[in-house]
């Protein structure tokens, strides 16, 4: 019999385990835990490497993984997830959790460390404004944000975005800007007063990417391997913490197990799990259960435990749009092969007109295969290849997350055959917002047009939440208390994004992690 069992090893499960271990409690983590199948042996800049070596295995792969978006043009996934070495992140997900979906495209992971294995590592604190609809305040999370910041090693700066991202005294210096980002930032600083009056603020991103050494981990070496090689030491992923906790014997980790449901037996719970190796059923007894399997899977386990095939739950996800833009002065420039290939800058648009706050990430495009851009250019094939060579060095992409409330949510329920059914709602992006963004980028020296905006599929924001929301006074099934306890299920706690009643337009990972620690703190304070 285990005291505490955590289901899942992603951002929330690992953070909860970290806090339990801080408190001297040894939890057991039950996980499917797929590992990378290949780790390319590249020890130099990827652009140098590919000038000398054949890269078929790394860029396309024997199973044609790199062609995923070629074969599914109407349902393209983030390019990083199509890289053969990253395949493990989303591999077998529809086998473990079959989904029937309409107007939604769920991306799920059963890998050790979860979806964060392929994340952009953006780590942003929520403020009281972000937490308006939550039963907690930013001050409830600040201790845990600080603890995590110390564990992870976050690069960034307390700059114009501090009032949105929160003050962090342990930040490492920001990563080097690419030439494109550097120009954009200089333009911002020149026009800062005017832009700030319009509610536009630009600053350094907060990234779980080291710019300095930390605990034996090397800092970012600007080799452009972010898309092609998993487990880079300078990008934090929950697996780093998990490995350490396993090594220090502070958690018990049981993988190859897919948790299906729980049953209550007097004073304890019995988890039913299936071995992914031989499909045998395994029963695990525990006193307290911590669900950290992600917003969809935690809710699925809850529905399956009650054999509830009727209730429809809400599923939230930030809608995301991408707007590419060029810096005309950089057309024809040498490709900056040593630029950091993910977020370079953040932009906050605190719009009075829309009465909301939008967070944009400005990304370099040096990481993905150049072939990913071929279909985006409008001319003939050989001309598009020339444009890839000449225009991409001047191109940046602004990725903007839009806030999502319960009225925009998708609905989901569980079928008797174990399949989940998700029905999304068509979302319309406000044209005025896109026009505003085009004007903002123009002021910063970037050129684009509203027709170039790429609207991500419903579900491709990959900021899922809202399935088992926390409230001040839960009074119905499938809601949780502010301490994460599931209504009517004493001893069953939820710690992942399921708890979020809304998803603000800001990366939610850091808050999911801090909130998981807050709930772990509550559980560890309980007697017995």
């Amino acid at each position: 019999m285990y005291e505490i069992v955590i289901v899942g090893s992603g951002v929330s499960g690992t953070s909860a385990a970290l806090h339990f271990s801080d408190k001297g409690i040894k939890p057991c983590i039950i996980d499917v835990g797929l590992n990378p199948y290949m780790e390319p042996r590249i020890n130099e800049n990827f652009y140098m490497y590919r000038e000398k070596k054949d890269c078929f295995d790394i860029m396309v792969g024997e199973q044609w993984e790199g062609l995923y978006n070629l074969m599914r043009l109407d349902n393209a996934i983030p390019a990083k997830l199509t890289s053969p070495a990253m395949r493990f992140v989303i591999d077998r997900s529809h086998e473990f959790n079959p989904v029937k979906q309409n107007n939604f495209s769920l991306i799920q992971s059963f890998s050790r460390g979860g979806l964060a294995n392929a994340w952009g590592a953006g780590l942003y604190r929520y403020n009281d404004r972000d937490l308006e609809s939550f039963p907690i305040k930013a001050s409830d999370l600040s201790f845990f944000y600080d603890r995590l910041s110390n564990e992870i090693g976050i690069s960034g700066e307390n700059d114009d975005l501090t009032s949105y991202f929160g003050k962090d005294n342990s930040l490492q210096r920001p990563l080097q800007h690419s030439e494109n980002a550097s120009r954009l930032y200089k333009n911002y600083m020149r026009k800062k007063e005017r832009l700030n009056r319009k509610g536009i603020f630009v600053g350094h991103p907060r990234l779980g990417v080291l710019s300095e050494k930390k605990n034996g981990r090397k800092p970012c070496d600007y080799r452009n391997l972010e898309f092609w090689k998993p487990n880079l030491p300078y990008i934090y992923t929950p697996s780093l913490t998990l490995e350490r906790l396993i090594k220090e014997k502070k958690v018990l980790y049981k993988n190859n197990l897919l948790v299906k449901s729980w049953q209550r037996k007097n004073s304890y719970l019995v988890l039913k799990a299936e071995s992914i190796e031989n499909r045998n059923t395994v029963y695990i007894k525990c006193k307290k259960l911590v669900l950290a399997a992600g917003a969809v899977n935690s809710a699925k386990i809850a529905l399956a435990s009650r054999q509830d095939y009727q209730t429809k739950l809400s599923l939230l996800d930030n809608h995301a749009v991408q707007l590419p833009f060029v810096l005309p002065g950089r057309i024809g420039a040498r490709l900056e092969t040593d630029a950091f290939g993910l977020t370079q800058l953040n932009l906050i648009y605190d719009s009075r007109y829309f009465n909301t706050l939008f967070q944009g990430s400005i990304l370099e495009v040096t990481s993905p295969a150049r072939a990913e851009f071929f279909k985006e250019f409008p001319f003939s094939a050989s001309e598009n290849i020339s444009l890839i060579r000449l225009v991409l060095p001047s191109l940046l992409v602004m990725q903007l997350f839009l806030p999502v409330s319960r009225k925009d949510s998708a609905s989901f329920h569980l079928n008797r055959n174990g399949e989940i059914v998700i029905r999304g709602k068509k979302k319309k992006i406000n044209d005025e917002l896109i026009k505003d963004l085009v004007k903002i980028l123009r002021m910063l020296g970037g050129y684009t047009a509203p027709f170039l905006v790429v609207k991500a599929e419903n579900g491709h924001g990959i900021h899922y939440g809202g399935t088992l929301p926390m409230t001040d006074s839960p009074s119905r099934e499938y809601t949780c208390s502010r301490c994460g306890e599931l209504y009517g299920e004493p001893g069953v706690y939820v710690v992942d994004g399921s708890l979020f009643p809304v998803i603000p337009a800001k990366n939610s990972s850091f808050t999911i992690m801090a909130n998981a620690m807050r709930i772990a703190d509550h559980i560890s304070s309980l007697k017995g």
Binding site: Y47, R50, E51, K52, K53, D54, C55, F56, M59, V60, W64, G66, L67, L70, M71, P328, G329, R330, I331, G332, A333, R334, L335, T337, A369, R370, A371, F374, K375, P378, F379, S380, A381, S382, E383, I385, S386, L387, I388, R389, L390, V391, L392, P393
Partner: protein, 125 residues
């Protein structure tokens, strides 16, 4: 010339490296079996009848015609990028800011001619 050679030539104006050809043909065989007979025949007709495949693909893409031709062009780009000798097609190693901007303008002008030609070829097919 076979389909791989023709498509590569249309995109890169060069002879296809043997490794790229081999991979393109293997991928074609394994990935596109679910296209309809009509789509396959239309594609084969395009390959055998039209010499300027690049102009044809451009117009077909704009008009949402000959889907197999469009996807095979894209496939070829993915395959071509993986070999070291093709790095020069995709990566600008030297600053060419002045000539680069002129090239982009020239590409825009050339596109009009290619599109008109492609529309004509599409009608011929």
């Amino acid at each position: 010339m076979d389909e791989a050679e023709k498509i590569y030539k249309a995109i890169f104006k060069n002879e296809i490296p043997p490794l790229v050809k081999q991979r393109f043909l293997k991928a074609s065989e394994e990935l596109f079996s679910d296209y309809s007979k009509k789509n396959i025949e239309e594609y084969k007709r395009a390959l055998s009848k039209i010499s300027d495949l690049e102009a044809l693909e451009f117009a077909a893409r704009r008009k949402s015609r000959i889907p197999l031709l469009i996807i095979k062009f894209r496939l070829m780009v993915y395959m071509a990028e993986t070999v070291p000798e093709n790095s020069r097609f995709f990566i600008n190693r030297k600053d060419k800011k002045f000539t680069g901007k002129l090239s982009v303008l020239w590409i825009g002008m050339k596109a009009v001619w290619k599109y008109i030609k492609g529309l004509f070829l599409l009608r011929m097919l």
